[in-house]
Structure formats: structure tokens, C-alpha cells
Subunit: 381 residues, 2 copies
Amino acid sequence: MSEFVNIEITHTEDNARAGVLHTAHGDCLTPMFMPVGTQATVKGVTPRDLKELGSMMILSNTYHLYLRPSDELIARRGGLHKFMNWSGPILTDSGGFQVFSLSEMRKIDEDGVTFRSHRDGSKHRFTPEKSIQIQHNLGADVIMCFDECADPNDYAYNVRAMNRTHKWAERSVREHEKRCAKPVHGHLPSLFGIVQGGIFQDLREKSAQFITALDLPGYAIGGLAVGETKMQMHQVLDWMHPALPQHKPRYLMGVGEPVDLINGVRRGVDMFDCVLPTRLARHGAAFTRDGRINMRNIKFAEDETPIDPGCTCYACQNFTKAYVRHLLHVEEMLGLILMSLHNLHFLLNEMREIRAAILAQRFTAYADEFVARYTGQGTAA
Amino acid sequence: MSEFVNIEITHTEDNARAGVLHTAHGDCLTPMFMPVGTQATVKGVTPRDLKELGSMMILSNTYHLYLRPSDELIARRGGLHKFMNWSGPILTDSGGFQVFSLSEMRKIDEDGVTFRSHRDGSKHRFTPEKSIQIQHNLGADVIMCFDECADPNDYAYNVRAMNRTHKWAERSVREHEKRCAKPVHGHLPSLFGIVQGGIFQDLREKSAQFITALDLPGYAIGGLAVGETKMQMHQVLDWMHPALPQHKPRYLMGVGEPVDLINGVRRGVDMFDCVLPTRLARHGAAFTRDGRINMRNIKFAEDETPIDPGCTCYACQNFTKAYVRHLLHVEEMLGLILMSLHNLHFLLNEMREIRAAILAQRFTAYADEFVARYTGQGTAA
């Protein structure tokens, strides 16, 4: 199978890794955080600003794009890169997580999932084959196997979900190989596998063994940040480090808390994605070096300092807390735009600092200092 | 009275004028369109983008800023320029128009207007003195006399409103002079008068005579684009041309239809403002050379052309109708951002073209061609 995406690990410090991920749409410096553009746009941010922020790869959602405007329309328009005018690398998820999140509105069987649209209740069906077909139509650089994300604490459910995920991974691979023989766009997507198994060591190790045996160009750790404790998340990552091949990228799905990024990198993760920065922005919450703040707070009404003093983003270089607080208070779009730019910058900049620290062999010190300051407590786990 | 704002008319073609408006925050090339930043932000546009669009002067609303975050807060924060980080010229309206638009929620007497906030029903009172005090606190380059805008077709009401407007103009001037002796900010605002009188020639001429006798640095034509016909609007402007001094700026308030701008310039107007470009954007309507289009229309779902082929704005240079239509359809913020950028660019660019045409003595030809194409009909009135 011709696979373009591959990682070159250039530096390590303990389990932390720094490298370069090569894709058909350019190189990404890792570890990296991927902003999420659910509906073919990162909410509130122009592609121009996204580039200026230093975004490398972005993520988009198969479930949403399948519903609107449809993967066929995007394929006819030349694929997702062209449609949204983003020339950098893109990753699409499999649609699995979104479909399972519909809870009452979906029904799982061994073959796939039948669900109703969250918009209009219309009936649809995803199978591993369908998910891969949609993702080939979208034409991302990295696409994901269709998987089932279970309640991380339910052992019996995790056994069932994991076995289904494994069968679906095999079917995803077969469909992907078939589609690669007749490419929709000018480049071939690379298919990543997803390890499941909740918080259970035996299941996680079994899943890693099964999925890595498929010999895919990259592996994701799924089913985390969905209800387990931080300590449990760290445990799973610790089990994964020796279980995943060193020379392939590891992607921790749906994680974007500043401290979680640190703790993920500590445990060998190369890639992260999360809607958190833009979602928090819409709720008026901003990341700062000293932790999260609620920018709607009345105490900022006359505050002349930027959101995060020392931050180099457009919002912090040009506007005061007093102004941003006013914009949020009167529900002006510019408030959401500035908050989104700031929060995305915060995580992207954090990843740049992490990478620089690994290159300089001072990541552990950087990580401890970052976590201590962010949490206002001692050093990190 | 020390007044900084003044206009230099450098070129004319029939009644059309081109020149330079000098202000404490820089020069503006006229005729010009002023984007409206009601709540200290032009909706959906960063100050950086606003500058890139070529905006010269922007307008902000006294009524809204008085309510939130309050003019006192903005004064403490160093004035509106600093608060919103806009270093170019700003004009504030008097709050009169907004207050009168509250209809059932306001009561007019000879001294002023008592009204309830459209947000929370709280009770407030504006008088000419109060309006000028607020505007001095905000610290715009151009501020406006407190006036009453009547139904343009009601003669008896227009007589009353005009007389009140004249008394209020005198009180505005007195209060302004008093405040100029103790400036709030480092520069002095310039006070413009407003001519009222509905669609009635005798009232308009009487009003122009009264207001110009106050010898203010600029004059606005109020009470238009509020219910009269286009022909009536043109008539009023034709009466105003000889009634207003040639060497002072003329500002047609609240007008921003592409064809109305042409017809205003034809009749000697130098300045325009309107919420139309950003309001239309939020409703999915875009200006194009060939008239207004509804960008939500299904017929654009697979259209590979930009919103307005030939347009040089960021939206048109980078995105297809198909993509913008998708963004509007799924209610993504980027859709509003791109539409706002495009519509603002359209009017700002139109004014640049108008000015270049006057300089080249080919404005009449330009105007006729623009209107014929925009309306899809013959030549303009």
C-alpha cells in the first residue's frame, strides 16, 4: 500500500518525542496540536489567520461534512483542501465518535451504525466501508479507521466495542486499499488505526497488538478524555508507549487541555486535536499562563492589561481585557474572534515551546514549570 | 471655537465633489463611506481587516455605548480610539435617531427625551447637553448635534421636530463650547449640525439657513432613508446643494445602498454611513456589480466562481460561492465574516472608484454605467 504520511523522530527526552510528520500537503513539526474545523472551517477564524497562528495540520469532521454539504459535493468541488482553501495538511475523523455521541438517536450492530441526523432527524447509516468512502471523497491527508468509543469504565462493554473496533479496522483497511486503487483526488490519504479498550490494561494491550499488526502508517489512542480520571488517562498512555511502534506517529484524540498536552507529550504522543480552544472562546473562557480565566467577569471591565500578559497573539498585542470583556458582554462577533485567536494561539504556541524544549533537552523542566504555573500548584504528575 | 476638522475640495464635476477631510486622527479622502461600529466594533471585522479594506473614518453609536459599557468607562479607558484600538478618525452620532427609533419606549418633551433601554427596560434621559457630554467622553473626531428625526411625510410633525432640532442645535453648540474649554481627551471633537425638514422644500431650506448660521465645521442632512421615495431623497439633496456652504463637508446620514451613494455624490455629498453592508451580510445578501444576490440560494451550492467575479476582496480572492453558501447554510461565523468583508469592500471600493472618476472628470459616465449595470436597467435618475 502506498502511504505518504510518515514521521521522522529527530529528538527524544525520556518518552517525549520531537520530529517531523511528512504529508502530501507539507511537513508538520511534532508534537503538534491540530485545530478542529468541524464544518470545513475552524470556528471564527479565517484560513489566513489560521496560517498566521502557525497551524500545521487541521482536523475536520466526517459526520458533519457528510450531512452538509455532503462528501460528494466536496469531491466534485475538488476535495476539502480546495473547498475550504486550506493548502496545509488535513486529517478527518471516521465519524464514529460523533455518531456514537448521538446516544438515543443511533443503533449499533455488528455491521455498522444506523443513526438520525442531529439537524433534521433524517435516517442514515455508517459502516466502516461507508466511512472510508466518505473520507476518500473528502480527500484528507490522514483518514481514520471507523471505530466504536465505549464508556471507558465499563469492562464488558469495552470488550464488545474493542472486538467490533478490530473487525471494523480490518474492513476499513480493505476498503481503503480498494479505494487507493482508484484515487478520487491527486494524492492518496493515509489510514491510521485506533486503539480502544477503555481504562483496562489487558484490553488496551490486546487492542494495541491487534491494531499495530495491521501495519498502518500511524496509530491513534481513542476513547480517552471521555469520562476517565486524569490518572487513568496517564496510565493508559504509559501502557501505550511501549505497545506502539517508535517510528510511527501517535495521535491522542480529542485532547486539548494545556496540561493534558504536556502530559501527553511526556508519554510519547505526537499529535493532538480538540474543539476546546474555540468552544471555550464561545463561552468566554481564555487560557492564560496562570490558568483559565472567565473573560466575562465584571472584574475585567476596566482592566487595561491584555488577556494574557506576555502573549504574542493578535488579540493580546492589540486589545485590553476591558475591551474584550465589553465585546463578550454585548455579544459582538469580534469578541468570539479575538478569544478564538487567543486560545488557538495559546495551544499552538505551547506546542512550539514544548518542541523547542525537547530539542534543547529541557522538556521535563519546562513541563514542570508550565504545569505548576498553570495549575497554581506544585509540579505535575 | 477651535475646530480641527475641515475639508479641502480639490476637484468637482458638476455638483460632485472630491477632496480631503482633515482630522486629528488623519486625513480622509472624500467622498467616503464610513463603516458603522455600533458597539465599538464593526460587526465581524477586526480593526486590522478594517484598515486593510481601506476604511478611513468609522462611525460609532452614542446610544449603545452610553448603555454599555458607558461613556464614563470609555473616557476612563482613554477614549473610544484607544478603547477599540482604532487609530483612524471616528464620528459619533448624537443618540437621537436610536432613541426616537424606540417608538413606544420614549417620550419627547421640549427639553429632551426620556426613554427605556431596549436591553433591560431601565429608564434614561437624553438632552442636547447630555448627548454632547457623552460624545465628549467618547472623544470622537466628529460629533453630532442632538436632533429629532420625524416621519419625512408629515408636514405638521416636521415643523415641530425642526423647531426643536434648531433649539437643540443651539444648546448642543453651547454645551460643546463649554466642554471644549475643558477637554476630556488630547484632541477637540468637531461638532456638525444636522438639517431636518422631511421632504418639504420650505422646511429644508429654512432648516439649512438656521443650521448653517451656527457656523459649524460641517453639516449633515438628516431624516432621509427613513420612508421617503428615492425621488424625494434626490429632491431634498438637490435643494441642499445650494443651501449648504461649498467649503464645508456634507454628510448624508444612514445611506449606504450602492446606487444611493452614486446619487448622493452626484448631488454634492461628501460623507455617508450605513449599517447595510454588515447587516445584509448577516442576512446572507451580497453586493455585486450586477446587483444584490442572496448567497444562501441553493443555486450557488456548486458554484465555483467568487461572490462577485472581478472583486479584489479577501473573500472573493480566496473562496467560491459554493463554500460561502455552505458556511451560511450551516451558520458558521466565517460565513458572516467573509460576507461582511466583501460587502464593506464593495462600498469602500465603489467610493474609491467614484473619487478617481471625479478626479478624471468622468464621474457622470462612471455613475451612469454603474447604476445601469447594478440595477440591470437603463441610466440613473
